[in-house]
């Protein structure tokens, strides 16, 4: 009950922290989609490169988030951005790579070869086969990867608070520091809520973008 009280009393702060959280994740994610999807598509044609890229992306996923920030802060300090939103966004961007690249790569590769042969056989160029056949058919799985990355990023985004980038993590870390459990609950609750909402919105978007014939 007292958590509820806390939320009511601090609603404006919570809202602005939520907005900030969303902003960090959104920037990182848009950038990640713009790089990871083309990369995922590109490597379907280069087996060796695919192995390397997927391996590196896998390794990045295994680095603990705090440690990743630990690397990024000194690296970005060189351009005077060691503290604040940039390292947080870069970290989130890196984490989003694996689910999106992997899903894109797998989805494009697993399009039924008979369908591709049909497309080639009736006179599509390789580029037309990619954009008119493979990409639309891969879309549901690509979307699954993006949704995966979003949920992951909204959780990991909490650590942005550690380097002064704000977001809902602020409540969690301050709560821990002050052993103020209502604050921790509030932070955790809104992080989860945000993740669910974002996933739902992407689900709606997916319904709109993916052909009805694939449902």
């Amino acid at each position: 009950m007292s958590t509820f009280r806390y939320v009511l009393d601090n609603l404006p702060v919570i809202m602005s922290a939520t907005a900030r959280h969303l902003e960090l994740v959104a920037i990182a994610l848009v950038a990640a989609v713009l790089t990871a999807v083309p990369l995922g598509i590109y490597i379907t044609r280069k087996q060796v490169l695919a192995d390397i890229v997927l391996y590196i992306a896998g390794v990045i996923m295994t680095i603990p988030s705090v440690a990743l920030l630990g690397f990024l802060i000194p690296a970005l300090a060189i351009i005077g951005q060691g503290i604040g939103p940039l390292p947080a966004i870069v970290a989130l961007f890196l984490y989003a790579q694996l689910p999106i690249i992997r899903n894109t790569y797998t989805a494009i590769r697993s399009v039924d070869p008979a369908i591709i042969e049909a497309a080639v056989g009736i006179g599509m160029t390789p580029r037309q086969v990619l954009w008119r056949i493979q990409v639309p058919l891969a879309l549901p799985v690509v979307f699954a990867g993006v949704r995966n990355a979003v949920v992951l990023n909204i959780g990991v985004g909490s650590i942005a608070a550690l380097i002064g980038a704000g977001g809902l993590g602020v409540f969690i870390f301050r709560g821990i520091a002050r052993t103020y459990s209502e604050m921790i609950y509030t932070g955790a609750f809104f992080v989860s809520l945000l993740a669910l909402l974002a996933d739902f919105c992407l689900f709606r978007l997916q319904r709109r973008l993916v052909s009805r014939g694939l449902r």
Partner: protein, 372 residues
């Protein structure tokens, strides 16, 4: 015109999938590639549109060596029906049919008209099917769309890989008949793959029998039936060759023309004079003004009715008669007769006009002729 000259193809791993195959399909004719599974039919077909490149030999389309033309351009002018259909699941039926016209940059209106025209031709009302997705169709409907897609840009050449495979016999029979009717009008040059010898004999102008990558015999269907090149072909064609020959004959070729007929407005008295015991005639077909078939009337029906007063033919005619169309194969007509237990069926032409009657007797005469 399509011509293969000493074409061979080996896949990695060494099998000679196609081995020194040569044949020519004249413009407007159907050549059927037939043979057991794995004999190289699909491979042969795919070399024609350069999905596979032959290891050796040459392929000509309208006297142009295909290896000298841009494969994309070549394929856009050759309709291709893929084994197991290969419709694009994310596209609607209309979009699937429109793929090639779209690639050829036809304008919207022309594409829409063409799609509707083809759907109508396939017996699928455009308003009902246009916006459906492939998964919302039955197997037979999907196969028809596969054919429609191949024909969309009206290419002079069609390659069809088992377009009627995996269908129940009745649907298959119907699609085959529709196919023949369409071909009669459009006169495409077609290479058609099947592993069903009956289908090959029914549809082909020429039949190419393949075995283990080699072309064993390339001949007209009747020649394949009557003069099989070797043991293998004889076996493949099967023991019931005489029966199979019935597929090559259309009912109008063997029917008795000019069957006994009565106008529907005729009186019972006129009927009785036609069906008098002295004429030996026991039944008559009843027709309308344009000789369109209305039904059947038997002598005993007229006699019974006449006893009870001045009956009209229109009142006592049996309208529940099974008829066959004039270009049905005798084989199909025969199975129709057997399944309804009929000794004779009327043969109708355009607008249901009575043209003749097919009887067991006329079929027996044909069989005797084939066997001799």
């Amino acid at each position: 015109m399509i011509r293969l000259e000493h074409v061979s193809k080996a896949y990695e791993g060494g099998v000679n999938a196609v081995n020194d195959v040569s044949f020519e399909v004249p413009r407007g004719e159907i050549a059927i590639l037939v043979g057991p599974s794995g004999c190289g039919k699909t491979t042969t077909l795919k070399m024609i549109n350069r999905l596979h490149e032959p290891a050796s030999g040459k392929i000509f389309v309208d006297d142009v060596d295909t290896s000298t033309v841009d494969p994309i351009e070549l394929r856009r002018n050759i309709g291709y029906v893929i084994q197991d259909v290969g419709l694009f699941p994310h596209m609607t039926i209309a979009e699937n049919i429109a793929v090639v016209p779209h690639l050829k940059k036809w304008d919207r209106k022309r594409i829409a008209e063409r799609v509707d025209e083809l759907l109508t031709m396939m017996g699928m009302p455009p308003a009902e099917y246009r916006n459906r997705y492939p998964r919302e169709l039955s197997g037979g409907q999907r196969q028809r769309i596969g054919v429609a897609r191949a024909m969309a840009s009206d290419p002079p050449i069609l390659l069809m890989d088992e377009p009627f495979g995996a269908l129940d016999p009745i649907t298959r029979e119907r699609l085959q008949n529709e196919f023949l009717k369409i071909q009669e009008k459009l006169k495409k040059t077609i290479v058609f793959v099947t592993h069903d010898i009956d289908e090959a004999i029914k549809l082909g102008d020429k039949v190419a029998i393949m075995r283990k990558g080699r072309l064993i015999q390339y001949d007209a269907p009747s020649a394949v039936l009557n003069e099989p090149a070797d043991e293998f072909v004889a076996d493949f064609v099967g023991q019931d060759r005489t029966l199979k020959s019935l597929r090559l004959i259309r009912t109008y070729e063997v029917m008795d023309a000019d069957p006994p007929a009565l106008h529907i407005q005729a009186s019972a008295a006129e009927a009785l004079s036609l069906l008098s015991s002295s004429s030996g005639q026991k039944y008559a077909w009843v027709v309308g003004d344009a000789r369109e078939l209305k039904g059947l009337i038997a002598r005993k029906d007229v006699l019974e009715a006449d006893a009870s007063g001045d009956a009209k033919i229109a009142d006592i005619v049996n309208t529940n008669v099974v008829s066959v169309e004039r270009d049905t194969t005798v084989k199909d007509a025969l199975s129709e007769m057997l399944s309804y237990g009929l000794a004779r069926v009327p043969v109708v032409g355009p607008e249901g006009r009575l043209e003749g009657v097919l009887t067991f007797d006329s079929i027996r005469k044909v069989l005797a002729r084939i066997d001799s």
